[in-house]
Amino acid sequence: MHRLNGLKRIAVVMMAGILLSISAAAISGSMVVEGSKAAGMKDCVAPTMDMRRNHMDYLKHQRDEVVHQGDRSDKFALADCVSCHASKDKQGHPVPVNAKDQFCDSCHDYTAVNITCFQCHRKVPEEK
């Protein structure tokens, strides 16, 4: 039987350690962008892991509830995602939430998801 010698064993352990720390960073690293309201907050409208996995279903459910039933009581309003997750540039102007490297683009770019929502929906919070 082939046995790993001491040096090789250390190399394997180190590789495993590096891989582990990379994946840990990927799990805890947040996509929330600097300068957005969300950056100063602890929680999303639902637990973060749940939002990561299921935000598309929540959005579509809310969309049908609002448009067909007139029920706006749920917490997954697209307008709210925008007002909390959109950031501001150095001059204080709002940046579209779906612009390159902004919140709604970050993962979608990586996973090749293309959403058309912002052809119609406001990309920056409404000024009151």
Partner: protein, 258 residues
């Protein structure tokens, strides 16, 4: 009315809509339930105990006044839709989105002129809903006829079917929107009686509010099913008409003095 040949056969319609309702409650596949227009089980959202409508007194509608139109444009972000580059002015005037427009009627015999605002009449039997191939054109439980632009494919059958020319099509990308009323290229839209206001419990539309603010009070808005609402009382106190009543659409918008 003696000439009944032109009228739709309501029995056939009723049969068709009953069949659709029955089919609507059926499960298509395990876990997939088609939506119906009934109120939700949790009691939230709109219900068919309400039917929104309005009464418009054309005598009070002032010639040249466009307060209702501008209020609607502002409320629903219609003023943010700009003429696409390269389109000529005449085409733009014809094709720009409009949820309300002012119409002037002249009686050819007496030359009497009446003014009225014309918008989606929120029919009980809306032809736009009948012809829609995707279900995007629908009637909400509270009687509001509207377009779900998430499923509208922009075929414009509904625009052809509407006897009131109440619907608009968005021909080009739109740069600026209001949260109340998202819009984009390729979908049909029309007056939704300011559904976002009603859902938020503000019981009046932008047009009726603007008309009252200008002192004309030509538009009375409210719940047609509530006998004590201002609109029900106004309807009871005087004769009113539906535009194209011969089509028997039972409109939610009624007019007096036309």
């Amino acid at each position: 009315m003696s000439d009944c040949k032109q009228q739709p056969d309501m029995k056939r319609r009723e049969f068709l809509s009953n069949t659709v309702v029955a089919a609507g409650a059926v499960t298509v596949a395990p876990g997939v339930l088609l939506t119906t227009t009934e109120a939700k089980a949790d009691g939230k959202g709109v219900s068919s105990n309400t039917r929104w409508g309005m009464l418009i007194d054309t005598n009070k509608c002032a010639d040249g006044c466009t307060s209702c139109v501008s209020a609607c444009d502002k409320e629903n972000g219609i003023d943010l839709v700009k003429k696409p580059e390269g389109h000529d002015d005449a085409m733009w005037e014809q094709q720009r989105p409009q949820w309300i427009r002012k119409v002037k009627l002249r009686d050819t015999q007496s030359s009497v002129v009446s003014n009225l605002p014309l918008m989606c009449q929120h029919c009980e039997h809306p032809p736009c809903v009948d012809v829609c191939p995707t279900g995007a054109s629908f009637k909400r439980a509270d009687g509001i006829v509207m377009v779900d632009r998430h499923i509208c494919i922009g075929c414009r059958y509904c625009m052809m079917a509407c006897p009131y020319k109440a619907r608009s099509f968005i021909h080009a990308d739109v740069a600026e929107q209001v949260v109340n009323s998202p819009r984009g290229k390729g979908c049909v839209e029309s007056c939704n009686l300011c559904a976002h206001r009603l859902d938020a419990g503000q019981g009046n539309t932008a047009c009726a509010e603007a008309c009252a603010k200008d002192g004309h009070n030509a538009i009375v808005f409210g719940d047609l099913k509530d006998p004590n609402s201002a609109v029900s009382k106004a309807l009871k106190s005087q004769p009113s008409r539906q535009l194209r009543e011969d089509l028997m659409l039972n409109t939610g918008v009624r007019y007096t003095n036309v």
